[in-house]
């Protein structure tokens, strides 16, 4: 088992999930509650990675972050090294590619919150941010959890963008799925089987836990 690849994959998934949840909360709030028509355009852009071939996104990141572009030079100054073929570049690619997995469940969750509760909060003096943090998000916490699980799981299984942006540098950019690809290419099927089984098991357990969570609701108590 390639433990370096395993640890790198977990670090990448955790970093991507943390960053995406921070970005997804305001984005989902805009998509759920904004009344402007621009919201629809934003919604389409957020959904783009669902249909875009990962290699296309990887290609544009590769070109965009090359030292020949202003963006690439700025990123190099910011991180102290070029973004392509680095862990930071891998994170940027993962954040963009997993964006809909974080935003869409949370948007649906926020939209399902009873609007009368948000109106009540407003008449009790709560502004938009307080309504989001104190009412909408706690009531949509299962959607927030779904966003986190889906983002983490999707990042663990990411291949196309990771390969295009990061290549396969051991300990730096070689994730489990890239390691699996390399092993198969070199006909090392015994070890490839272990990694494939690990990825299959992880994804299955995560999704079964997510989908069966509503079967185990938490009870309420009543003071006597």
């Amino acid at each position: 088992m390639d433990t370096d690849a395993l640890l790198l994959t977990l670090r990448l998934a955790a970093t991507t999930t943390a960053l995406l949840l921070l970005a997804a909360i305001p984005l989902a709030a805009v998509l759920a509650y904004a009344t402007t028509r621009w919201r629809l355009l934003l919604e389409a852009l957020v959904a783009l990675p669902l249909v875009l071939p990962p290699t296309v996104l990887g290609f544009y990141l590769l070109v965009g972050f090359s030292p020949l572009t202003a963006l690439g030079r700025t990123a190099s100054t910011l991180f102290g090294h070029q973004l392509v073929f680095s862990f930071a570049g891998l994170v940027v690619g993962s954040v963009l590619y997993s964006l809909p997995f974080a935003v869409q469940p949370l948007t649906a969750g926020l939209r399902s919150v009873d609007p009368r509760l948000l109106e009540a909060a407003a008449t009790l003096g709560a502004g938009p941010l307080r309504r989001l943090l104190r009412v909408a998000l706690p009531l949509a916490k299962s959607s927030l959890l779904a966003s986190a699980v889906l983002t983490f799981t999707h990042t663990v299984g990411e291949f196309g963008v990771a390969l295009m942006v990061g290549g396969s540098i051991p300990g730096v950019t070689r994730t489990l799925s890239i390691s699996l690809y390399d092993l198969v290419e070199n006909a090392q099927f015994a070890e490839a089987r272990h990694i494939a089984l690990l990825l299959l098991g992880f994804s299955t357990v995560a999704l079964v836990a997510l989908y069966t969570a509503p079967l185990f609701p938490r009870g309420e108590r009543r003071a006597s």
Binding site: A122, L124, G125, E220
Partner: protein, 226 residues
């Protein structure tokens, strides 16, 4: 109060009717009386800032609230169905937005023993008491009650009316009066609460005055229509 503290004006469509109102409110407790679908609740939503038609204005104590969002109006709104936050306890709900110590309020509304109860375990009457206590805890400049006593036992309604009157007296003696505007189509409730009654039908104020005069007028209209 004798001087008008609230001036509300509206000429806008709502559903199938048009709400045409231009009224100055001066009483401690004003009751909007009329049949369902006559525009009473829309008027309360207009005051609370939850409905903001273009051709409408709201002046409270001389301050123009027309363009202000609901959270900046200091107008508390209690709906017919209590919109309590299900993820908070009774205490958490009353504390939401509170600007005053909540323990005395919980005592006043008979909720002290339920302070840490979940919202889903409450009866309808208990939930509505939480809703009203929560609104009063924000120390609003105006309290709107949208058929908030509907479905309650008569004794509980009477008890809540007394409590609200006591709170009004306390607020008035502290120099920050709490006028109330309530919506009802219940005659007994109108007599019990009203200092001033606005009878609203089809989006228009048909009559205004004390409860006896307005209800007598309605009776006369009914008989003449037979």
């Amino acid at each position: 109060m004798t001087q008008p503290f609230l001036h509300v004006r509206c000429d806008a469509p709502v559903g199938t009717l048009r709400l045409c109102i231009d009224e100055r409110i001066h009483a401690d407790w004003t009751v909007l009386f009329g049949p369902s679908g006559s525009g009473k609740s829309s008027l309360l939503r207009l005051l609370a800032g939850l409905w903001r038609p273009r051709d409408a204005s709201v002046l409270l104590h001389g301050q123009d609230l027309t363009l202000l969002p609901p959270h900046r109006r200091s107008i508390a709104f209690v709906a017919q169905t209590p919109s309590l936050f299900p993820h908070l306890t009774v205490r958490g709900n009353v504390a939401f937005g509170a600007r005053t110590p909540i323990d005395p309020l919980l005592e006043t509304f008979g909720l002290a023993s339920l302070a840490y109860a979940g919202i889903r375990t409450l009866s309808g009457g208990e939930a509505q008491r939480v809703s009203i206590a929560r609104a009063i805890a924000t120390e609003p400049h105006l309290l709107l009650l949208d058929e908030s006593f509907t479905g309650m036992h008569r004794n509980l309604r009477r008890q809540l009316t007394v409590i609200l009157r006591q709170i009004q007296q306390q607020r008035a003696s502290a120099g920050s009066p709490l006028p109330i505007l309530s919506v009802t189509h219940d005659v007994a409730e109108t007599f019990a609460c009203a200092d001033d009654v606005l009878r609203i039908e089809d989006g228009h104020v048909l009559a205004r005055g004390n409860a006896t005069a307005v209800l007598a007028q309605e009776r006369a209209d009914l008989i003449s229509g037979l």
